[in-house]
Amino acid sequence: MNLRTSITPILAALLLAACGGKADAPAKGDREVVVFAAASLREAMQELAASFTKSTGTPVSFNFAGSNDLAHQINAARGMDLFVSASEAWMDTVQSAGRIEAGTRRDLLANSLVIVGHSRATWTVDQPCALATVGFEHIAMGDPDAVPAGTYARKWMQSVDCGGKTLWDGVKDRVAPAPDVRAALGLVLADPGVVGAVYRTDQMVFAGRTRVLFEVSGGPPIRYAMALVADGGSPEAGRRFADFIARPEAARVFARHGFIPLAAKP
Amino acid sequence: MTHPVLCVHVTLPLDRFGLDVAFETTHRVTGIFGVSGSGKTTLLETVAGLRRGARGRIALNGDVWLDTEKRVRVPPEGRGIGYVPQDSLLFPHLDVLGNLRAGHGRARRGAGDVDATLDGVVTVLGLQPLLSRAPSTLSGGERQRVALGRALCSGPRLLLLDEPLASLDAALRRKVLPFLRRVRDEFALPMLLVSHDPVEVQALCDDLVVLNEGRIVARGEPRAVLTRPEVFTLGEGEVEGFQNVIPAQVVETRDGVSVVRLGGAAEGPLLTVHRSGLAPGSALLVGIPADEITLALQPPPGLSARNAVPARVERVQQVGASRLVTVRVAAGAPPLVAEVTADALADLHVAPGTGLYLLVKASAVTLYEDGAGAA
């Protein structure tokens, strides 16, 4: 449904760039803002974009995917205005490729991990190491080698000591890597034998059909970083949208979706 | 010897007309004659059990294959037929021997020595050199012989032949026809033969059913049926006129020509023809196109045609602008038919009983050499 609306401007922008068009020329009027955002931000971002468009008249189109995918795409193509990454590491990748506007990077949000089960799951996990002993078949998470949520989860589990071995050692044989957090959550929804390590915000979207088994605390900090992309198609509008989602009003929206807003820019 | 009784009473709706046929036959070889599109092949496929939707009754010797009133429909594999389609339909994934053995399962279940039958078929049809060949490497005549052999080796109780010679050229037809006659004579099997070729049906059939637009329009002894005006005109445009086909015997061969005696009877007239490869005394069939026979009241002097055969007129029939004159050349020989124009006939004042001479060029006579040795 919004696939077409989100892909078309990107294709147009790519075409422009390929034809040698001046993609970085000053925007004439308010053109569309193209935002590449981590998949976990979908609901909150769409809500904010709707009110942005309502007040400014400038449409916003999104490409939601794993931050790793987005980073690869931004480094390979042109035409997107704003990148909101679920991890500092993938933002670093884009930055070191010289693909962001200097001075525009800032931390926007924090998130936390939960261990989630099917709504029928009856296991009790009162402390981290108990996770290794309950009888789930698989623990689904974003691919720890690539997807930030998975990377965070592994990092946290590796830091938990369970009597000489780490929690990761206790579960790694049962890990089912998924292409992104939502795919991992999909497996939890389908099979009561599967638990997942996902963002709290993702679990909240499916609160009725899942049960939080354990809330992770003291894990690695989970930071969402935002930056304007160099050579964007609508730099001015992009800047305005970036400011819009950093305002206190936007912070309240993110908070309602379960994110922890970081110091809002005055 | 009591011949088997084949009983066919069927109706079947087709595109342009309905097939509606009822006949019974006790003859060994029954021909189904008609132009293309007259329903002949459909009738054969119905007897074989390959046509759904046929209604009526089909029985061989009291074994009922189809009786729609009693809800009997024996599938094709239960009918014990040997089917030889017009285009051979040899199985391309089997060699000739494999094709001949394709029906061995049924032959074994029935009586009879399967291997002896195979040997006999291979000998009679001259298939020995072909056994390991692939069907795609065979000539048209060879394919038809293999298809015939395959049907014979399957232990059939009835042979169904669909235009067995139609896909062959004239020269091949002359060669394959004798094989069919040998099959008829050596494997005592009843046959139903579909053909639009008057030569074929005269050479092979004892009984002829003529179909037109799905209905029987004539029935009887082949030569008599084929010369009826309503039948004679059927094949117009499709068949090159009527051809007399009569048995004969080689008398002698000299100077590049052969002399044969028509009808096989001792008093039959002699006819000079092409050189035959057969020894004196051998039996063969000769074909004389009706429109290649010239009639003369006296033996004409200074004639280039080699033959002036005395004959007596039996009947004169009117067929369109032509006249068919049926003549008898000898007491024991079958009658011959000559086709002449109405004008020419009027000048001769011919009537039944008139004595006259048949003038026939040697080159107009076709020999169907049996190859079966002395009669």
Partner: protein, 221 residues
């Protein structure tokens, strides 16, 4: 890496064989029989060809989910499909079905039904006719169907990753291994797997092309 290749080929082979028997029968029915709803059946068996593989994967996931039609909550017994090697085989089989059915159907349609009638008149029943005449006459096309189905199964990704996941050493296939390697930026590993996929794909399609061409030539004769 070789273990992934071996497992992928084994699953693809099982999936293809599972599809071949019913797929061949369905293809034969579609090629020879007229029946009500034939177009619907034909379309149904072609559907995985036009649906996004992820849609098929999601459909299968719903099917085998706890509360799905084939789930433990409905059946009362756990088929234990999701995230298991069984899931790989099922996903591959479903995705290979259209190619197997369509290719087999074409090969049956290339066999003149009169050969079957001929076999019947020679005393062979329906089953014997099918096995001793129809199958051998259609064999090259059927081998092509087998190879194409196998190739599709080897290359299956979208449905597999949703139903079976991408668990190294358990449900990871060549396709999902390439995906993982690429996602994690392990380019060397991705390149090796890519070359393996290229070679295997080329050999399989080349063989299928070769067989169907000689089949067409044989039928034309």
């Amino acid at each position: 890496m070789l273990e992934v290749l071996r497992a992928t080929f084994a699953w693809a082979a099982i999936a293809t064989l599972l599809v071949m028997v019913p797929g061949t029968l369905v293809a034969y029915l579609l090629a020879r029989k007229e029946f009500r709803g034939k177009t619907a059946v034909s379309t149904l068996f072609s559907l995985p060809l036009v649906l996004p593989p992820t849609a098929v994967g999601y459909l299968l996931l719903r099917l085998f989910a706890y509360d799905g039609p084939l789930g433990e909550g409905t059946l009362g017994l756990d088929l234990d499909v999701i995230l298991s090697p069984r899931a790989v085989v099922i996903a591959c089989a479903v995705m290979a079905t259209p190619l197997v059915v369509r290719t087999a159907r074409v090969s049956f349609e290339g066999v003149d039904p009169r050969y079957e009638e001929m076999a019947r008149t020679l005393g062979h029943g329906r089953a014997a006719t099918f096995f001793r005449f129809t199958l051998p006459l259609a064999r090259r096309g059927l081998i092509a169907a087998l190879i194409l189905g196998f190739t599709r199964a080897v290359g299956e990704f979208g449905a597999t990753i949703i139903l079976a996941g991408n668990i190294p050493g358990r449900t990871q296939t060549l396709a999902t291994a390439i995906f993982s390697a690429q996602q994690a930026g392990r380019e060397g590993e991705a390149n090796v797997l890519l070359i393996i996929a290229l070679v295997a794909g080329f050999v399989a399609v080349y063989a299928a092309e070769h067989l169907s061409r000689t089949h067409a030539a044989a039928v034309r004769r």
